[in-house]
Each structure stands twice: as structure tokens, then as C-alpha cells.
């Protein structure tokens, strides 16, 4: 009898051991070129180092799936790449596991993580990996004059053709105001008032009927390539990659860019917490962030990664630093997405935006 028990215990331990040796975590991100950059810079080396596997899933942002899974008591996702306002909101609603910046490894130069990460890139439940930006881009072969300012995007007379916009008030309203002459620094003050929202929507009204709405980050380059639109807002990295890897004749206009963070969050009750934690540590390390920057033009959230940022992975001549949202030349008229404003006003602005769309 005792022998049987020992045997059982041994085989159980073996089974658990096997499970430990080959954890599989589900990492959810925004798909397309962005997910590819993460697969190359984070997933593959991490899998090689630990023997674990990463199942990669795509989504279009938002908290709905996380909320649904947590409330269903059946969480499938281990890590999710989210925007800042969603990270804050999810944390407040108890949908996310707390993450401690002090658990993160020090930078390659030995700086403690809390100092190595850029200010404002870590929170109670979220650690940032990159800085990205919403910009607008156009197909240079189809434009006679070159647009250069955010106002040009809203100027149908000088720059005729359809526009692509994300089906979401976020970034659209800010851009509309900047195009209408509001200085970047004042945008959220203006948008905080009833008249400000009206003004933004009135500006957008000038484009209505000429808009193709997109939802997934992979769509805008496709819309440009298919000729469905002549200009579209987009995530800067997606346009960069279409140019760098597929030789598309797209140009980015940085004037009026709205930059934001992408952060890792762990849904509450994630099935493989330990492995997921290990993945966060690995993927937000100095080298991994710098490596990611060789696949897509998003800026690393660590200071120590900046000096390691080199050129595009298969084109040594293509220096990445000038294509980052944080490059000084691109920052002349830039706006940081105000997460608190959006956490506060998202519901109501969504409602108003949808009502405007339906009219």
C-alpha cells in the first residue's frame, strides 16, 4: 500500500513538474505588425529561455473581454496589452492583478526599475512597455500637394478624398480641436466643456460622408493600400512597417500627433500568474524593449533602452530613432493622451459620439 502511495506521489510530482516545465500563457495584443514585433522581441526569446510557450491572441482594445472573463469566473487571458485609460479603469474596478514596479528587474546599466522607467509609465496594476502614437498618414502617390499640418487632414477642399478614422471618440475629438486651432496644451480644457465637445464634433461634421471608419490597427494601412481612403489616422508603427517592409508610398504627418502608452496588465485570476509575471519581467527588460524597437517604431518605456535602439531588423540603413513618436522633430506639436480625462468622460463622450454618428 505504501509503495503504491509513494508511486502515486512520485508520478503526481512528475506530472506537476512537467506542467511547470512547460507552462503555456496566453498573451493578448493588438495584432498585425505590432504583435509581430512582440513575438520577435519578447515571445520567441522568452520561450527559448524558459521552455514555456506563449499563445498569442489579437483584440481591438477595451476592457470588455477582461471584464467578461473575470465576471464569468473563467479567465483565459494571462496578459493583455492595454491603453493607459483602460489600465487605470480596470484597476479601479478590481479587474486586474496588482503589479509592483519593485519586482521588475533593474535596467542594464544597474538603475533600479522605478528610476529606469520613464515617469508616468507604471501604475498599481500596469507596467508600460512602449510609447505609441496616433498620427495621420497619406499615400504620397495619390496626393498632388503634400499635407503637413493637422488642419490639412480636415481640409477637404485642398486635399479631396475619403478619410479613415478610428470608430471611437478618443483621439478624433482631440485632433478635430487641434485642427480647429486649439493649442495642444489647451485641448483637454476645451474638451472638458460642453461647447468644446460641440466644437470638436462640428469640425468632424465637415468630414462626415467622407469617412471610412476603422476598428483594428491593421486596417488603416490596408485602407490606404486599397485606395479606399486618401488619408487616414493610424498607429504610427503600422504605417512605418507598411513603408519599411512592404515599400508602400505612405507618409506620416506628425503635426498634432497624440501619443499614449501601451501597458501590460494581468486580468484578476489569470490562470498562469507566475509564468505571466516572469514574462512581464522579461519583456519589459532593457534588451527586450530595445529589440522590439528594431521591429516597429514604438519608443521603449525604459530610459536604459534608448541608447540601444538601432536600425530596422533587416535594413541596417534604416535608423529607428527618428521614426519614434518621442523623436524631438516629431514632438513639435504633440499631445499626450489624458487618461484621467478619458476615464472620466469616456462613457458620456462615447454616447455623444455615437449619437452624432447616428444622426
Amino acid at each position: 500500500m505504501k509503495k503504491v502511495t509513494t508511486l502515486l506521489a512520485a508520478s503526481l510530482a512528475a506530472a506537476v513538474g512537467v506542467a511547470n516545465a512547460a507552462d503555456s500563457i496566453t498573451v493578448v495584443s493588438w495584432g498585425g505588425a505590432y504583435t509581430k514585433s512582440q513575438v520577435e522581441a519578447y515571445h520567441k526569446p522568452w520561450m527559448a529561455a524558459t521552455g514555456n510557450t506563449v499563445v498569442s491572441e489579437d483584440y481591438n482594445g477595451g476592457l470588455s473581454e477582461v471584464k467578461a472573463q473575470v465576471e464569468a469566473g473563467n479567465v483565459k487571458w494571462d496578459l493583455v496589452d492595454v491603453e493607459l485609460s483602460d489600465a487605470i479603469r480596470g484597476c479601479d474596478e478590481g479587474l486586474l492583478e496588482p503589479l509592483d514596479i519593485n519586482d521588475m528587474p533593474a535596467g542594464a546599466d544597474g538603475t533600479a526599475a522605478a528610476d529606469d522607467f520613464l515617469p508616468g509609465t507604471y501604475y498599481d496594476c500596469a507596467i508600460a512597455n512602449i510609447v505609441w502614437s496616433t498620427i495621420y498618414a497619406y499615400d504620397s502617390t495619390k496626393m498632388e500637394n503634400k499635407p503637413s499640418t493637422i488642419a490639412d487632414f480636415f481640409d477637404l477642399e485642398s486635399f479631396p478624398g475619403k478619410r479613415g478614422l478610428r470608430k471611437n471618440p478618443k483621439a478624433n475629438l482631440e485632433m478635430a480641436l487641434m485642427a480647429d486651432g486649439v493649442a495642444a496644451a489647451d485641448v483637454y480644457d476645451v474638451l472638458g466643456t460642453e461647447e468644446g465637445v460641440e466644437r470638436a464634433l462640428a469640425k468632424m461634421e465637415t468630414l462626415k460622408g467622407n469617412v471610412v471608419w476603422w476598428e483594428a490597427g491593421a486596417q488603416p494601412p490596408q485602407l490606404l493600400a486599397d485606395g479606399e481612403v486618401t488619408m487616414t489616422t493610424a498607429y504610427n508603427g503600422r504605417i512605418f512597417n507598411a513603408v519599411a517592409s512592404e515599400n508602400k508610398p505612405f507618409e506620416i504627418v506628425w503635426d498634432g500627433q497624440i501619443w499614449d502608452l501601451d501597458l501590460w496588465v494581468m486580468p484578476k485570476g489569470a490562470p498562469n500568474k507566475e509564468a505571466a509575471m516572469d514574462f512581464i519581467k522579461y519583456s519589459t527588460g532593457t534588451e527586450a524593449l530595445a529589440a522590439q524597437a528594431s521591429w516597429i517604431s514604438y519608443g521603449p518605456a525604459r530610459k536604459s533602452s534608448a541608447s540601444l535602439v538601432g536600425s530596422f531588423h533587416d535594413q541596417p540603413d534604416l535608423k529607428m530613432d527618428v521614426h519614434m513618436p518621442t523623436a524631438p522633430n516629431n514632438m513639435t506639436n504633440a499631445l499626450q493622451n489624458n487618461f484621467e480625462f478619458w476615464a472620466d468622460n469616456q462613457d458620456q463622450l462615447n454616447e455623444q459620439f455615437n449619437a452624432w454618428l447616428a444622426r
Binding site: 491572441e57 472573463q69 465576471e71 464569468a72 483565459k76 483594428a216 491593421a218
Partner: protein
């Protein structure tokens, strides 16, 4: 309605105009389905006919999108050994297909078993509250899918059934039930209850009487009900979106996100395969119908 020999020119004109109109409507019905077939062999990643295709150039056609169905998601498409095992385990579309069949078959079994039993009860003349019960049993077909999806998601969550195969199967079984009820009760309309009475009087147990007397006669209805239930599950998206995670992803679910995000001709290739499957189903159904009519002694119309 052949044109009589004495028809005047007005009648003739109307006759041909009407035929032409009907022809156009049939074109409307069938052309989108046919257009998918050649486009799925397009060598270019577009949804339109290239000049090469129109010229009948063999170079303009390829099987690349069909290959993509097999290779997309594979761990190692270039491997020389274990290629098919890799396809079976990892290729996205193949996994979706496995899920679709798994969920569809079990949902069909549940819907058919419960539905046939209930239809037999419903067609008995002694059945109380017949109309109201019928109304309830048909209602899953009427309730908007979004509401069914939301309700089952919320309630199944309480029992840990959300994001499980069982949850999706149960929800799909519900959606299939009305079809089984309708088809089986339709075959029972002409059923002579005295046949069962006769079986009883000769000493058959109710179970034996059902399987030996009633079942063979309603079998065509049961099978076509089962086919309807299967197709309902096989084609359903909204409930899968709500109740399923990536592990329960079915073919229509995969197509839905594909169309929404990055529309590639792979979807057309999948669509072509589905069209072929539906032709096969239609043929099966037609054969069953003919057999059923022969059995019941109804002359085909």
C-alpha cells in the same frame, strides 16, 4: 403556365418580360455564391477579377489560399516530418473546423433527442396546452440572437459554463430545437396513431412500439431536423462570440473576425469549401425527402 397558342402580342410581351424578371431574380440569388468560387483561385490578394483571370491565363489562378487554410497558424510549415500532425494541431482554420464539427455534432444530438421526444408528445391528440407549449418550443428561433447570447452568457457564467465547449454546445442545442420540432411534427401530421395502438395490442412495449413502428416513419423528419440543427450550429456566430473563447473558435467565428479586420482571399477559399458542403447537405436532404414521400405513399409533386 405554357403560353397558349392563341395568346396576343401583349400577352406574349408580358410572358417574356415576366420570365426575364424571374431570370434576373434568380441571378441575384445565385450569382454571389457562384462568384466566390473563381475568386478563391485568384493568385493576387484581391477580391476582384484580375485581367489575367479574365483572359483565362492559367498563371492568374492558384491554390495559394487553399494552402493558406492549411498552413496559417502552423508551428513549422517548412518541416518535412510531422507536417500533417502540425496542420491538425495548430493550423487556425483546421482547429476551427474541428471545433465547428465537435460543437455541431453534440448540439445536434441533444437537440434531436429532446426535440423528437417532444414532437412525438406534441402530436398526440391528448396533449394539453398544445399551442402554448409549441410557442415556447419554437421561440429560440424568434428571439434575437443577441439577446439569447447575452442571456446565456450571463447565466452560464454563474455555473462556470461560459468559455467552455459545453456552454456553446448547450446554447447551440437550444437554437437547433425549433427546427427539429417543426420538421418532426410535420412528418407526424399524417401519422396514423392506430398503428401504435395495433402494436400495443399485439403486446409491444411503448419503447418497442416507438422504435419499431413510429420511428421508421418519422425518420426522414428526424434526419432533416437534425441536419437543420447541425447547419444552425455550424453557421452560428453571435453566441460563439459571447460564450466562446479562442478554444471554442468555430469557422464562422474565424470568418467573422477575418472579414472585420483583414479581409484576405483565404476567406473566399473557406467560403468555397462551405458552399460545396451545403450543396452536399442539400442533396442529402432532397434524397431523404424523396424516400420519405415514397414511404408514406405520397406521390411526389
Amino acid at each position: 403556365m405554357a403560353l397558349p397558342a392563341y395568346a396576343g402580342w401583349g400577352e406574349r410581351l408580358w410572358y417574356y418580360t415576366f420570365r426575364f424578371l424571374c431570370f434576373l431574380i434568380f441571378v441575384f440569388l445565385i450569382s454571389p455564391i457562384l462568384i466566390v468560387l473563381p475568386l478563391s483561385f485568384n493568385v493576387e490578394p484581391y477580391f476582384s477579377f484580375t485581367p489575367g483571370m479574365l483572359a483565362g491565363d492559367a498563371e492568374a489562378y492558384s491554390l495559394r489560399w487553399y494552402r493558406d487554410i492549411l498552413t496559417n497558424g502552423m508551428a513549422n510549415p517548412e518541416a518535412t516530418t510531422g507536417w500533417w500532425a502540425d496542420v491538425w494541431n495548430n493550423a487556425q482554420w483546421v482547429r476551427s473546423m474541428r471545433n465547428s464539427f465537435f460543437i455541431g455534432i453534440f448540439a445536434t444530438i441533444i437537440a434531436t433527442a429532446f426535440g423528437t421526444l417532444a414532437a412525438v408528445g406534441l402530436s398526440r391528440s391528448e396533449m394539453p396546452f398544445k399551442k402554448s407549449i409549441m410557442a415556447i418550443l419554437i421561440s429560440p428561433m424568434i428571439v434575437p440572437l443577441v439577446i439569447t447570447a447575452a442571456g446565456t452568457f450571463k447565466a452560464f457564467s454563474l455555473f462556470g459554463l461560459a468559455y467552455t465547449h459545453i456552454g456553446v454546445i448547450l446554447a447551440h442545442a437550444i437554437l437547433g430545437i425549433p427546427f427539429v420540432i417543426i420538421t418532426v411534427t410535420a412528418t407526424l401530421v399524417g401519422f396514423d396513431q392506430s398503428l401504435v395502438q395495433a402494436a400495443y395490442s399485439m403486446g409491444a412495449s411503448p419503447l418497442r412500439a416507438f422504435f419499431k413502428v413510429q420511428m421508421p416513419l418519422i425518420l426522414p423528419g428526424v434526419i432533416s431536423g437534425a441536419l437543420f440543427a447541425f447547419v444552425t450550429s455550424f453557421d452560428e456566430v453571435v453566441v460563439v462570440i459571447a460564450l466562446g473563447s479562442v478554444e471554442q473558435r468555430t469557422i464562422p467565428r474565424q470568418m467573422f473576425s477575418g472579414i472585420r479586420e483583414q479581409i484576405s482571399p483565404t476567406i473566399l477559399a473557406v467560403a468555397t469549401i462551405l458552399v460545396i458542403i451545403s450543396i452536399a447537405l442539400l442533396a442529402t436532404l432532397e434524397l431523404i425527402r424523396r424516400r420519405g414521400e415514397r414511404l408514406r405513399g405520397v406521390t411526389p409533386t
